[in-house]
Symmetry: C2
Subunit: 313 residues, 2 copies
C-alpha cells in the first residue's frame, strides 16, 4: 500500500523566473525603446566578470540593452557620475568587490537613486528596514526599490503561495515562522527584516547567535523589532519553522535536515548547496535548490520600473 518515494516538490528557479518574466515582457510592450542597463566592471575578481556576462546575456534575451564598461577602478567614480546624468542610461550596476568593503560601500552610494536598480542606496535600505514602502508616502506613486536578492526570495515565497493573499497586503506572512540562516548585510539581515515586516516571526541565525525579528503580538507594531534569543541555536529554531531559507557561503555548510519540521519549505540562496538534496526531500514539502535566475529577473523588473519612472518624472 505504501509509496516508496517521499512527496517533496522541487521547484526550479527557472520556472519561477518565467512567470515573473511574463510580467516584465508585458511591461516592455508599453514603452517606446529598450531600457539600457550600464554595468561597470572594475573588479579583479573573475566571478564579477562571469556575473557581468550573465547579466548582459539575460538583458539581451529579454528585450533590454546592456552595455558593459570595463575600466580602471580609479576612473570609476567619475564614470558613475557621468552615467547618473546621461538620460539614455536607465539603470546602473557596479560589479564588486573593487576596493575594501568600506570603500565599495562609498562607491555604491554614488549611484543615483533613480538608476539604482539593485536597491542598495542608503535611502532604499533605510526604507526597507523601516517598512516604508513608497518614496512618496503620501501620494504612494513611487515604490521604494528593494534589494534584488531579498526581493527574489519574496517573489519565490509569493509564487509558492507562502504569502497568503486572503490577508491584507503587508501582513501576508502572519502566522508563518521562518528561519533565515546567515545574517549578512547584503542578504540575510535585510531578508529577515522584510519577512518580519510582512508579518512573519523570523529567526535570524548567524554563527554567534539567534535573533528574532517580529512585529509583536497581533502584529501591533508597524515595523519589526529585533530581540536577542540568548542560548538559542538551530536546534530551537528549525523544529518551529514552516520555511527555512539558507545562504551560507562555502561548500562545507549543510543545514541539519533532521531538525526540520515535517513538510517545511526549504530555499537555498547560497551559491553552494546548503541542503543535502537527498536528505531534504525526505522532510520538505517544497525545495528550491537555487535562486539566481529569479534574482536577475528581479533586476530587470527594477530596471523597467526605473525606466518608466524616468519617462513619467
Amino acid at each position: 500500500m505504501a509509496d516508496e518515494k517521499p512527496n517533496c516538490k522541487v521547484v526550479l528557479a527557472n520556472n519561477i523566473a518565467k512567470s515573473l518574466l511574463e510580467e516584465v515582457h508585458a511591461g516592455l510592450q508599453k514603452i517606446d525603446r529598450k531600457p539600457l542597463l550600464v554595468g561597470f566592471l572594475a573588479s579583479a575578481d573573475p566571478a564579477a566578470k562571469v556575473y557581468a556576462d550573465w547579466t548582459g546575456k539575460t538583458c539581451e534575451e529579454n528585450g533590454f540593452q546592456f552595455e558593459l564598461r570595463t575600466l580602471d577602478r580609479e576612473d570609476l567614480e567619475d564614470a558613475i557620475l557621468v552615467a547618473n546624468t546621461d538620460p539614455s542610461v536607465d539603470g546602473i550596476i557596479v560589479y564588486y568587490p573593487i576596493f575594501s568593503s568600506r570603500q565599495d560601500q562609498y562607491i555604491q552610494q554614488l549611484v543615483s537613486l533613480q538608476k539604482d536598480v539593485e536597491g542598495l542606496s542608503h535611502r532604499y535600505i533605510f526604507n526597507m528596514y523601516q517598512n516604508i514602502r513608497f518614496l512618496d508616502p503620501e501620494e504612494k506613486t513611487k515604490k521604494s526599490v528593494l534589494p534584488c536578492t531579498p526581493l527574489a526570495v519574496i517573489k519565490i515565497l509569493e509564487y509558492l503561495r507562502i504569502y497568503n493573499t486572503i490577508l491584507p497586503y503587508g501582513n501576508r506572512l502572519y502566522g508563518r515562522t521562518v528561519t533565515v540562516i546567515n545574517r549578512s548585510e547584503v542578504v540575510g539581515r535585510p531578508l529577515a527584516a522584510l519577512l518580519a515586516n510582512d508579518g512573519a516571526c523570523v529567526y535570524s541565525v548567524d554563527i554567534g547567535d539567534v535573533q528574532q525579528f517580529h512585529r509583536g503580538e497581533g502584529l501591533r507594531k508597524r515595523r519589526h523589532e529585533v530581540v536577542e534569543k540568548p542560548g538559542w541555536t538551530l536546534e530551537n529554531c528549525l523544529p518551529l519553522s514552516d520555511v527555512v531559507i539558507s545562504g551560507v557561503p562555502g561548500e562545507k555548510y549543510k543545514v541539519p535536515v533532521e531538525l526540520l519540521r515535517e513538510g517545511a519549505v526549504c530555499i537555498n540562496f547560497s551559491s553552494e548547496r546548503n541542503f543535502d538534496s537527498g536528505k531534504v526531500k525526505e522532510k520538505a514539502s517544497i525545495y528550491v535548490p537555487a535562486i539566481g535566475k529569479v534574482t536577475i529577473v528581479v533586476l530587470l523588473r527594477n530596471l523597467l520600473v526605473s525606466h518608466c519612472a524616468e519617462q513619467d518624472g
Copy 2:
C-alpha cells in the same frame, strides 16, 4: 508609532458561502429542471424543525426545490424506500435525532447511495477514511460524496488558502499542523481523517486523549494512520498548530487561547462560541466564528452533483 488594534481577519461563513454558491448557480444553469431535495421530519427535537425550515429556505432562495415530509417515525422506513425509487427525488435528508443513536444509524443506511446528499452512507464514510476519492477508482468519473460538515471545513480551508495549490492535489496540506478539538463520529473524527489524508499532521483532541492522524514522513503512506499520544493535552498541541478547529457542544467550553501559536487560523464549528472572540483576535491571523452557512451550501452542491449523476447514469 504602534497601532492599537491586533490584525486578526474575521471571515464570516456568509462570504465563503457566496463564493461556493456562484459555482452552484453556474451548475444550475446547465440543467433542465430544479433538483428536488426531500426532507423527512420525524424528530421530536425542535432544533430538527428549525434546521429543516432553514434547509427549505436556502433551497428555494438558490434555485432548488425542497419538500418537507413530516411523518410518524414508524412510517419513516417505508417512506425512505419509496423516495429512493422515485425518479423525481434527487436527494434525501433525514432530520435526527429520532430513535436511539443506534437505530438512527440504521435509518441513515436506508437512504440510497445516489440520493445521500449528506454523505453519511457507510460506503462514503468508508471511502473517506480509506482516502478513496471515487466510486469508480479506475474511470474516476464519480466522486465519492464527503459528509457535509467536514467538507464545509475543507471548503473553508481552501477559501482561506490553507490548502496550497502549488502542491499536487491530495497533498495540499503538507507541512500544516492542525488541531481538531472534539472527536465525534459525525464531524471531529472524519474531519481529522480528511485533513490527514490531504497531508496535514492532525492532532485530534477529545476529553480523554490526544491522537495524531498523519501519513508519515514524506507523506509516504497513501492514507492516514492514527497514533496515540499518551500524556498529551491541548498544552502540547496548540503551540504547534497553524490551524485550530473546535466543535465542542455546550456553552461552557472555551479553547485556551493563551496556548495558541501567534497568527494561528481559528475555526469554530460548534453551534456555541468555542473561542472567546475578544481574546482570539489578539492571537489569530484569521478567525471564522461559525460555519453553518457553508455547510448548507455544501449540501446543495452535493444535491446538484447527485442530480447530474442521475441524468448521466
